[in-house]
């Protein structure tokens, strides 16, 4: 390797690592278009580091996100509709909203604004207490209460462990939503230590929130398959709080 090769590879590495700012990154992208050896160096770095992407914990990807993608691309409606999870169980209005690009665009902007507002509210008044709309008591195999989940009208859910042994070394606890509308449990949260966690279930429909929740023991970082692989240590169903 010559110094020139090293300079080229080091720059390609910085680019793939994401270290370059807008102007530098734009320079690199122009060079990729005209310098085949440099483009090859960038591609080689992407391949070298790609395994790191597989260490990300999968998050729930719901139908609303697919609807926004399909609407944005004006995809033929037949293809996504054929594989859509559960349109038959939704009311006419909900189906219409599901398909309405304007609605989802608006909701997305509103969700970002609401998140920003919530941060400010929390900053100013950390002691705001709201009444949960739904409550679930997750019980262990022995029938003992192991954790309480509270779901609030704005879609937030808290999970408060009551009686849980420490998580085994090198394992994670994973929280699952089990819905008759979905063919398989959906991973919605990961706990690497026993503590109160906050989840954002705004993207689940009320029907899904009313479904059952379960906690399983998984390899550290969560189930590698996207489905529960370990024993379920507790589970329970959401019921309206009032």
């Amino acid at each position: 390797m010559t110094d020139r090769d090293d300079d080229r590879d080091a720059l390609a590495a910085e680019y793939v690592l994401g270290l370059l700012g807008g102007a530098e990154a734009a320079d690199v992208e122009r060079r990729m278009a005209s310098d085949a050896a440099f483009a090859q160096a960038v591609a080689a770095w992407r391949v070298r580091l790609a395994d790191l992407d597989m260490t990300a914990v999968p998050q729930q990807a719901d139908e609303a996100l697919w609807s926004r993608i399909a609407s944005g691309l004006a995809l033929p409606s037949a293809a996504p509709a054929a594989t859509r999870a559960a349109p038959a169980t939704q009311s006419g209005l909900l189906s219409w909203l599901w398909d309405s690009l304007a609605f989802w665009r608006g909701l997305s902007a509103a969700a970002v604004a609401a998140a920003a507002l919530f941060v400010m509210l929390v900053g100013l008044r950390p002691a705001v207490v709201a009444q949960p709309a739904f409550v679930a008591v997750l019980t262990t195999d022995a029938g003992r209460p192991g954790a309480v989940m509270h779901a609030y009208a704005d879609g937030r859910v808290t999970l408060i462990p009551l009686e849980m042994a420490p998580i085994p070394q090198g394992r994670s606890l994973q929280l699952w939503s089990i819905s008759t509308a979905k063919p398989a449990p959906v991973a919605i949260g990961l706990m690497d230590q026993v503590r109160t966690i906050r989840l954002d279930l705004r993207n689940l429909s009320p029907d899904q929130i009313r479904q059952r929740f379960a906690i399983s023991v998984e390899p550290f970082g969560g189930s590698p398959t996207g489905l529960p692989t370990g024993p379920v240590v507790m589970q329970g169903a959401m019921t309206p709080a009032n």
Partner: protein, 204 residues
């Protein structure tokens, strides 16, 4: 993947939900390169198949960088638009289809992080952020035992490994890394450069 055979806390292994192993197999076996070829030919079902197989981890990759769930979804939405429009430019000689897809996700996420200045609110106070920063050691441990990247990262100097992993996974900039390590910018740059070239030698 074999079930984890441990009992916890002291009971039997029980799963009362429904699992669809057929669906899992189908999803695992997706041939991403073939799906990209079908996307290039205008087959929307292929894009949907990629969504079903990869979108959860794409959100995970994006959220490690932009932190907020809403922004991560925006990254993934934009990425699918790019995948659909640029599928014809995918070149299997340059790497796997999955690598191409995640390069698009990371590019979009980092561009939002660096250029769009929409992350001024501290993610620590954000109720929609469910991903907290992981340590570089935790991330390396998650790599497969058979991964040559893992072996080579473990052979790097500790500080170079840490900087390279945190930069890639969480999108930290040179400036942020220098502030965290309490060293000048030039020092961070030279550590990363040396680490990257050592990694290249090890990985070939």
């Amino acid at each position: 993947m074999m079930p984890v055979s441990i009992t916890y806390p002291a009971g039997r292994v029980v799963w009362r939900g429904r699992t669809d192993w057929g669906l899992m197999k189908q999803a695992t076996d997706l041939d991403v390169e073939e799906a990209l070829r079908r996307c290039a030919a205008g087959d929307a079902g292929a894009l949907r198949a990629i969504f079903e197989r990869e979108a959860p981890r794409m959100i995970g990759v994006a959220q490690r960088i932009v932190r907020r769930r809403a922004l991560a979804e925006e990254v993934v939405q934009d990425s699918f638009v790019q995948i659909w429009r640029r599928a014809a430019s995918f070149d299997a000689a340059r790497g796997a289809g999955r690598t191409w897809i995640y390069a698009i996700v990371r590019h979009r996420a980092i561009s939002i992080l660096r250029d769009e200045r929409r992350l001024e609110l501290d993610a620590d106070g954000d109720p929609t952020a469910t991903v907290s920063e992981e340590s570089s050691d935790d991330i390396v441990t998650k790599l497969s035992d058979s991964s040559s990247l893992r072996r080579c990262l473990e052979h790097l100097e500790e500080r170079a490994r840490k900087l390279i992993v945190l930069t890639y996974v969480h999108g930290l900039s040179h400036t942020e890394l220098a502030a965290r390590e309490g060293v000048p910018l030039g020092t961070v740059k030279s550590w990363i450069r040396r680490g990257a070239l050592a990694l290249r030698e090890c990985l070939g």
